[in-house]
């Protein structure tokens, strides 16, 4: 039994690699800024970050991997009913 039953990737090794944690922790940082600076917009409930911030976190990681995004033409954007700059998916989309 590894790590006495606790998280074996952190107990026996060094957990997740930096690159993937940069995604998680960018969300954490943006969420901290959001809750701290716009506190009066939030009630005592549980919220998820809006999709444009999720897309922003992903965007921040594309250059490092040499990813080149394709850009919708205004006609294409209108055809599928999304803004040219996103968000590109409805909230219920599951990826």
């Amino acid at each position: 039994m590894l790590s006495e039953g606790r998280l074996l990737n952190l107990g026996n090794a060094t957990g997740h690699p930096s690159f993937v944690m940069s995604n998680s922790f960018s969300n954490q940082t943006i969420a901290q800024i959001e809750l701290f600076t716009k506190n009066d917009e939030y009630e005592k409930r549980v919220y998820v970050l809006p999709k444009h911030l999720d897309e922003k976190v992903a965007r921040l990681h594309l250059d490092a991997l040499g990813v080149k995004l394709t850009r919708l033409s205004p006609e294409q954007a209108a055809y599928i009913g999304v803004p040219v700059d996103g968000p590109f998916k409805p909230d219920h989309y599951r990826y």
Partner: protein
């Protein structure tokens, strides 16, 4: 850059002399964390977290040190503990305390209370230290698994009741320790957690398990402050839980056992995001992977991906590696383990240890 200055006695880590090694690894990690580094650049002038007093409870690793220093570079003051007794990397904790500009003799980083191999008593003491600031309390929590949030809520609940339930009646060893901790604090100050709870503007939660606890608290009308569920950002759960586990599962198994994975029969309990990453990880090493699932949708996904889906009972005697990826208890019991082959490997990468 703004950094919080730690007084020399306001921290507890294993060994400050590890700080230089930790700093080297932090610098390597910064290069691999472009999201955090670009947030530092973007908000350098604006300092949106100036005035934020963040209590963090999240695995004190090298990556977390980069997060901590991102928060401080945006203006926040920070106190930190790990959210798991074994997950701290002692060189990361030391480097966070010393900070980029300090020395082990003159630490200038943040107060960290974390070391690898804490007892449960030490663990909850560390969480307490990060919530009790020398001059008041936090106004933000950054949580992983919800333990810091839990302590504030349970403390507030028992202060309102004027009494803490008898620790002897606790249904787990961990809850016994929580109750003992709160019994002591109630004796010291009958309003401590109530005050701390009132001062908190909100919590951001990292994990599936912690988020589940938060939704339960909302349903029971108990949540004391707003919460942001970071776990269900697509760029978190579909990446960290999936690709993170794909990387770190076999890393953990290899470092612990160095047993050959190829050819072995591996059982993954659960085919959520974590289970999907684990299954790919082990299949990539040539293991023959079997999934157990309770959810017909996830079970069908597993089958369509080409995995066998069976019950644990069917495979206990024949499989070589068993990994639980759920947030539930009693997935693999001691009685199950008695039926396994000699030297079967059993590990957990889901949230809980029971």
């Amino acid at each position: 850059m703004t950094t919080t200055t730690a007084t020399t006695n306001d921290f507890k880590v294993a060994d400050l002399s590890l700080a230089a090694f930790g700093r080297k690894e932090i610098e390597l990690a910064e290069h691999e964390m472009p999201g955090l580094m670009s947030l530092r650049r973007k908000y350098a002038d604006e300092q949106p977290l100036r005035g934020a007093r963040v209590t963090g409870s999240l695995h004190m690793t090298i990556q977390t040190a980069v997060l901590i220093e991102t928060l401080t570079s945006l203006g926040a003051e920070v106190r930190w503990a790990s959210c798991n007794i074994f997950s701290t990397q002692d060189h990361a904790a030391a480097a966070a305390v010393v900070g980029p500009d300090g020395t082990p003799e003159d630490p200038k980083g943040v107060p960290v209370y974390a070391w690898k191999g804490e007892t449960l008593e030490e663990y909850w003491w560390c969480i307490e230290q990060t919530l009790v600031w020398p001059d008041g309390g936090p106004n933000m929590i950054l949580d992983d698994g919800g333990d810091a949030t839990l302590l504030v809520h349970k403390g507030t609940e028992y202060e309102r009741a004027g009494a803490v339930p008898d620790p002897a009646g606790a249904d787990s060893e961990e809850f016994r320790v929580i109750l003992t901790t709160l019994q002591r604090t109630l004796g010291e100050d009958g309003q401590r957690w109530t005050r701390i709870g009132q001062g908190i503007k909100g919590v951001t939660e990292e994990t599936t398990t912690g988020v589940h606890r938060l939704y339960e608290m909302v349903e029971n009308g108990e949540l004391l402050f707003p919460a942001i569920n970071v776990n269900d950002s697509v760029t978190k759960s579909k990446f960290d839980n999936l690709y993170g586990c794909r990387h770190s599962l076999i890393d953990g198994i290899n470092r612990a056992t160095d047993v050959m994975i190829g050819g072995k029969v591996a059982v993954i309990c659960g085919f959520g995001d974590v289970g999907k990453g684990c299954a790919e990880s082990l299949r990539g090493q040539g293991a023959r992977v079997i999934i157990t699932e309770i959810d017909p949708i996830c079970a069908l996904q597993a089958a369509m991906q080409g995995y066998e889906v069976k019950t644990l009972d069917e495979v206990l005697e024949t499989a070589d590696i068993f990994i639980t990826t759920t947030g539930n208890k009693d997935i693999i019991t001691a009685a199950d383990m008695e039926r396994m082959k000699h030297q079967a490997v059993v590990g957990n990468i889901g949230h809980f240890d029971n």
